[in-house]
C-alpha cells in the first residue's frame, strides 16, 4: 500500500520525470503523446498527424530491401580535412564526434541489395552525421553507387536526408554536386531507372543535385524540402513564410515531387515503379 503514502509529494511538473526514458514519445509536430512501442509498430509515424519521425538508416534498410539486407560497399571511405577547417570546433573533431554518435564512418551507407527480387544499387543518407551533409566521401560513395548501376545495368535507389553540401570541405563539397549529377546523365543515357526518395529534410546542395534528378521522385509526408533554408528566405525577404511553405505537400502542388508516399508504402511503391521502368 505504499502508493497511498505517495499522495503527498508536490504536484509539480516532475510527473514527466517519473516516466522511464523512451516509454512514451511526444510528436514534435502535433504534440500527441504516443506509447513508444506503438510508434515502433507504426514505423515512427504519428497516428494523430501523420508526421514522419526521422528513423535510422538501418530501419530504412529493413523496411525497403529484401530480407532487410544490404551488401555494403566502400565502408572504408573516410573524410580528410583538406581545408584544415575550424570554427567553434575543428572539423576533424566534428567528424570523430559524428562517428562516435552514429557508429558510422560517414553520412551515407551504400551497396547492393534486392527489392522484390530485382537487383538494385542503393544508397541512404543519415542526418545524424553532421546534418547529412555532403562532403567528398558522401559524393564519392553516391558516385560509386551510380557507377555500380551503370556497370551492372541495375536500377538505382537513393534515400536522401541532408541539409546540403558540407561547409567544412568548402568548394570540394560543391563539386560533389557536379560529380554525382554528371554520372546521373550517363545513367539516364543508358536508360537505367533511378528512384529518388526524399525524407525530412532534403535541401540545398543535395536537393540541387541528385535528389532532384530521379526518374521518379517520391517523398515522405511533411518533410522539409527545397533549395534555400526557410530562415535564409525569411531573412532575405523580411516577412513571414506562408504556412506549409517548402513542405512535401507544397512541392507536390508545385510539380516537383511525383508522389507523396507514407513510409509503410515506400517499398511497394518503389517496386511497382521499377517494374514498369526496368527489365533484366
Amino acid at each position: 500500500m505504499e502508493w497511498f503514502r505517495k499522495s503527498k509529494p508536490p504536484l509539480d511538473s516532475g510527473t514527466k520525470k517519473n516516466i522511464p526514458e523512451g516509454l512514451w514519445t511526444k510528436c514534435t509536430s502535433c504534440g500527441e503523446i504516443v506509447y513508444s512501442k506503438k510508434m515502433e509498430e507504426l514505423l515512427w509515424v504519428c497516428p494523430n498527424c501523420n508526421f514522419h519521425f526521422r528513423i535510422s538508416s538501418h530501419k530504412y534498410i529493413e523496411l525497403l530491401l529484401d530480407n532487410g539486407v544490404l551488401e555494403t560497399y566502400d565502408d572504408n571511405l573516410t573524410s580528410k580535412d583538406p581545408l584544415k577547417f575550424k570554427d567553434s570546433k575543428k572539423y576533424t573533431d566534428r567528424l570523430k564526434d559524428a562517428q562516435k554518435k552514429t557508429g558510422l564512418k560517414e553520412g551515407v551507407i551504400s551497396g547492393m541489395a534486392h527489392m522484390d527480387g530485382m537487383p538494385v544499387s542503393f544508397a541512404i543518407m543519415n542526418f545524424a552525421f553532421i546534418g547529412g551533409s555532403m562532403g567528398s566521401v558522401v559524393g564519392e560513395k553516391v558516385a560509386r553507387a551510380i557507377e555500380r548501376s551503370i556497370e551492372r545495368g541495375v536500377p538505382l535507389v537513393i534515400v536522401s536526408c541532408s541539409g546540403g553540401a558540407r561547409m567544412q570541405e568548402g568548394i570540394l563539397s560543391l563539386m560533389q554536386m557536379t560529380k554525382t549529377s554528371a554520372l546521373l546523365a550517363v545513367l539516364a543515357e543508358k536508360k537505367i531507372p533511378y528512384v529518388s526518395i526524399l525524407t525530412n529534410p532534403t535541401t540545398a546542395g543535395v536537393m540541387a543535385s541528385y535528389a532532384s534528378l530521379g526518374d521518379a521522385i517520391l517523398a515522405e509526408p511533411k518533410a522539409l524540402l527545397g533549395f534555400a533554408g526557410p530562415r535564409v528566405i525569411q531573412q532575405t525577404i523580411g516577412q513571414d513564410l506562408p504556412e506549409g511553405f517548402q513542405s512535401t505537400e507544397f512541392f507536390l502542388d508545385k510539380g516537383f515531387v511525383d508522389k507523396i508516399v507514407e513510409r509503410k508504402y515506400l517499398r511497394d511503391t518503389v517496386v511497382r515503379l521499377l517494374k514498369f521502368m526496368w527489365r533484366k
Binding site: D74, N76, L77, T78, S79, K80, P82, L83, F85, K86, D87, S88, S136, V137, E140, A143, A165, R166, M167, E169, G170, I171, L172, S173, L174, M175, Q176, M177, T178, K179, S181, A182, L183, A185, V186, E189, T203, A204, G205, M207, A208, S209, Y210, A211, S212, L213, L225, G226, F227, A228, G229, V232, I233, T236, I237, L241, F245, K254, G255, F256
Partner: protein, 319 residues
C-alpha cells in the same frame, strides 16, 4: 545607401592619388615647378600600391570581387566581342534579368555567351536582382545552351553571382530542380564550354551555369560552397564574422587552383580589374581564345569523356 567608389583598404591609395593630381593642377595653374615633389610622391604611390596589393587577405580579395567599379558581364561582352545579339526568356515563365545571354563573335569566332549580370546603380541593381538568378534564369540559360549545341556553337560562360535567389517564388518554381537539371545537362552538352569566374562564384548559384571543359578564375574572384557571410551566419550565428569565414572556407582563386579544381588563374592589372577595364578584357579575351583553341582537336566523344572524368576525380578522402 550611397556607395563609396573605393574600398576601405584602398583609401590611402585613393587619397595619395588625389593629392598628386591636386599638386599637378596647382603646379600648372600657378606655374610653380613641383615636378620633383610630384615624382617622389608618385614613387611613394607605386610603393603603397605594391604594398597593399601584395598583402591582400582573403576577405580583401572577396571585397575586390565586389568592387563597385568592377567590370560586369555586359562590360566584357562590349569590350571583347562584336555583333552581340541578346536573347531573352526561358519560354515558360519570364525573362530573368540577372542573367544575360546571346550569340556574339570573339575575334571572328561565333560563341554563345551566358553570364550573370549585376547593376551599377540602385535602379539597375534591383533590375538585375543583384546578379541572383531565379529558376527561370537557369532555364533561360539552358535554353541557350541547347541552342548553341543545336547549331554547334561553343559556349562561353561568365560567372558573377552572390548566389541563387532565396525567395518564395524561387522555391515555388523549383530553384533546386532548375540548378540540378542544368548541372546534369551541361555535363553532356556536345560543344566546348569555357567558364570564367569574373567576380563572385557563390555555390549552386554559380554552379547552375558553371559546368564545362575549362574553368578559369580572375585573380581577385572567389568560388565557394557558400558565401562567407552565409557561412558565418550559420557557424557563428553572426554574419559579421565573414572575414573569418572567408579564411576558413579558402575561397580565393589561388586556393581553388591549389585544390586542383580549376585550370587557370587569370592575372588582373596591378590594382585590380576595376582599375583598367580595357586591359582586363583584353587579357580575358586572349585566355578564352586560347582555351577554345586547346579544345579544338577533340572529337565530341573525347570532349565529353574528358569533361566527366575531370569532375569524377574531384574530392579528397582516404580509403
Amino acid at each position: 545607401m550611397s556607395e563609396r567608389p573605393y574600398l576601405e583598404f584602398e583609401r590611402p591609395i585613393v587619397e595619395l592619388e588625389k593629392k598628386i593630381s591636386d599638386m599637378k593642377d596647382f603646379s600648372v595653374g600657378e606655374s610653380i615647378e613641383l615636378s620633383g615633389e610630384i615624382a617622389s610622391m608618385e614613387k611613394k604611390l607605386a610603393r603603397l600600391r605594391q604594398d597593399v596589393y601584395s598583402n591582400l587577405t582573403r576577405w580583401q580579395k572577396v571585397q575586390l570581387s565586389r568592387h563597385p567599379k568592377r567590370p560586369y558581364t555586359l562590360d566584357y561582352i562590349e569590350l571583347m566581342t562584336t555583333g552581340f545579339v541578346e536573347l531573352h526568356g526561358d519560354r515558360y515563365f519570364a525573362d530573368d534579368h540577372a542573367v544575360v545571354g546571346g550569340f556574339a563573335h570573339i575575334d571572328g569566332q561565333p560563341v554563345m555567351i551566358v553570364g550573370q549580370q549585376k547593376g551599377r546603380d540602385t535602379k539597375a541593381k534591383l533590375y538585375r536582382n543583384f546578379g541572383m538568378m531565379h529558376p527561370e534564369g537557369y532555364r533561360k540559360a539552358l535554353r541557350l545552351f541547347y541552342l548553341a549545341e543545336k547549331f554547334n556553337v561553343p559556349i562561353l560562360i561568365l560567372i558573377d553571382t552572390p548566389g541563387a535567389y532565396p525567395g518564395i517564388g524561387a522555391e515555388e518554381r523549383g530553384q533546386a530542380e532548375a540548378i540540378a537539371r542544368n548541372i546534369r545537362e551541361m555535363s553532356r552538352l556536345k560543344v566546348p564550354i569555357v567558364i570564367v569566374i569574373i567576380g563572385e562564384g557563390a555555390s549552386g548559384g554559380a554552379l547552375g551555369i558553371g559546368v564545362g571543359d575549362v574553368t578559369m578564375m580572375l585573380q581577385y574572384s572567389w568560388y565557394s560552397v557558400i558565401s562567407p557571410e552565409a557561412c558565418s551566419a550559420i557557424l557563428w550565428r553572426d554574419a559579421g564574422r565573414a572575414q573569418e569565414a572567408a579564411e576558413a572556407l579558402k575561397v580565393t582563386a589561388e586556393d581553388v587552383m591549389g585544390l586542383g579544381l580549376i585550370d587557370k588563374i587569370i592575372p588582373e592589372p596591378p590594382t585590380g580589374a576595376h582599375s583598367n577595364h580595357a586591359a582586363i578584357a583584353a587579357t580575358v579575351k586572349q585566355e578564352i581564345l586560347q582555351a577554345f583553341d586547346s579544345l579544338k582537336g577533340l572529337s565530341v566523344e573525347q570532349l565529353l569523356e574528358k569533361r566527366i572524368a575531370k569532375y569524377r576525380r574531384m574530392g579528397e578522402f582516404q580509403e
